[in-house]
């Protein structure tokens, strides 16, 4: 086993189960649609809330799609073999998260303009929304992978994972929706974007190590 062969295997596995990525996107669509249907469909309500709504939906769908990230591998004993492989577990985890991120983010970015239009997001905010997504989503995935590793041995992970992980998503969500509001009010938002990027960077440093620690503790 090498890093490259693991990377290839992960890509292949994700490509085989590509319906999974599609499902994650459709999940995102559903959550976005839930808001106008469940709460208020008027532009007055939706327009200022659009950025927040999209970010909430992204956060939920990232969590739900990451939840099963390690589960199959855990049950089948693949994680055991990864630990025993002699390769550095944090790097392996980083590879896995990277593959997931790559597969999810691009389609999400394509969907964003459509949904921001449907939620009446002013079009000058769109670019800020996309920037926050680009800068913040690595953080979401990296933090999420810690949660997935923590809950891997539990039969009912999704719920617990939301509980554990959402609090850590709050800063990203709050800064992002603040940035989107800032541009609507004509205020500067560069600092907020920098903060979001900083969180993602921090996650990049911390997450692989944490994830592999959790995995090691879970595999018995």
């Amino acid at each position: 086993m090498t890093y490259l062969s693991y990377f290839k295997a992960e890509c292949l596995a994700l490509f085989r189960t590509k319906q999974r990525v599609v499902n994650a996107l459709l999940f995102f669509v559903m959550v976005v649609v839930l808001f106008p249907l469940g709460i208020d469909p008027s532009a007055d309500f939706l327009s200022p809330a659009a950025g927040g709504i999209i970010w909430c939906a992204v956060a939920l769908s990232v969590i739900v799609s990451l939840e099963s990230m390690f589960k199959e591998n855990y049950v089948d004993g693949v994680l055991t073999q990864l630990i025993l492989s002699g390769l550095s577990l944090p790097w392996l985890m980083l590879i896995k998260v990277g593959v997931y991120w790559g597969a999810m983010v691009l389609p999400l970015l394509i969907l964003t303009p459509i949904f921001s239009e449907m939620l009446f997001l002013p079009s000058d905010s769109l670019w800020v929304l996309i920037s926050t997504l680009l800068l913040g989503s690595p953080g979401l995935f990296l933090i999420g992978s810690i949660g997935a590793a923590l809950t891997v041995s539990l039969k009912q992970g999704a719920m617990l994972m939301v509980l554990l992980i959402l609090p850590f998503y709050f800063p990203i969500i709050i800064f992002s929706s603040a940035a989107i509001k800032a541009v609507q009010l004509g205020m500067p938002y560069g600092g907020l974007l920098a903060l979001i990027a900083a969180i993602s960077l921090l996650a990049l440093v911390v997450s692989p190590v944490m994830t592999s620690l959790c995995i090691k503790a879970s595999v018995r």
Binding site: Q19, R20, V22, N23, L26, V29, M30, V33, P36, L37, D40, P41, S42, A43, L46, E117, M118, F120
Partner: protein
């Protein structure tokens, strides 16, 4: 009432042969009608005195919207038939029809959204009709996702049939609920629901285009069903002969 046709329809072999005879002519007839209707609509139909030329989008928008609904109705009926009689053809029909229906819903959504921009000044509003088409599209995508995700064929059949049937119950409810929901705080939106009294010269090409869409969808569905039948009946002798001899 003679039920022979019903039992015949249930036989993949009989349906395949029937469809090989009819699918191509029906498809081309549909294409022809569609072309006639659209060209008539685009080139010859008079300009609308209110909307100007943009109204010409109607010649694809309305047929696609109607088809999206009819296709779902047919899915629901097929699902019911499968659950009650376990008829082999029903899941084949559902599997073949779902993507076609999804495409029709997509056309209705896209053409409507583009039409909305010049007439309403926005691509999208959360209006009763639009929302119910969006939900319809999502239901189609759900059925497709289910069929792609479940690997066991028998399970996929059952699951798709159940979701189709439930959708059938859901459809009037969602329509009703959405209507109610909308009118509560947003009455009389854009007169979309009021039937415009169209002059004959505008209405006739619309009718032709609608008929064209129907035939086109029927032809496509038959083609798709034929492939599906071949795949599922692969162990029967007639399929083997058909594939090896004339390549179909």
């Amino acid at each position: 009432m003679n039920w022979v046709w019903f039992h015949k329809l249930g036989s993949p072999k009989w349906f395949f042969q029937w469809a090989s005879k009819w699918s191509t002519p029906v498809f081309y007839l549909g294409l022809l009608c569609l072309l006639v209707g659209v060209i008539w609509g685009l080139v010859f139909a008079p300009t609308d005195y209110q909307q100007g030329e943009t109204y010409r989008i109607i010649y694809v928008h309305v047929p696609a919207a109607v088809l999206a609904e009819s296709c779902y109705l047919s899915l629901g009926v097929a699902g019911l038939v499968y659950l009650v009689w376990q008829m082999k053809m029903a899941p084949i029909f559902i599997k073949s029809m779902a993507p076609v229906g999804a495409a029709m819903a997509a056309i209705a959504l896209i053409s409507g959204a583009i039409w909305g921009k010049p007439t309403w000044g926005t691509w999208w509003v959360w209006d009763a009709r639009l929302t119910s088409v969006l939900v319809l599209f999502i239901l189609y995508m759900g059925i497709i996702a289910l069929q792609n995700t479940l690997e066991d064929v028998a399970l996929a059949n059952q699951a798709a049939a159940i979701v189709s049937v439930l959708g059938l119950i859901n459809l009037p409810i969602i329509k009703y609920s959405v209507n109610w929901w909308n009118t509560l705080h947003q009455p009389a939106s854009f007169g979309l629901t009021k039937k415009p009294a169209m002059p004959m010269e505008m209405w006739l090409p619309l009718l032709i285009s609608l008929v064209g869409f129907y035939f086109l969808v029927a032809g496509l569905a038959m083609w798709r069903m034929q492939s599906e039948i071949l795949l599922r009946e692969r162990r029967s002798q007639w399929v083997k002969e058909k594939v090896m001899n004339d390549g179909v």
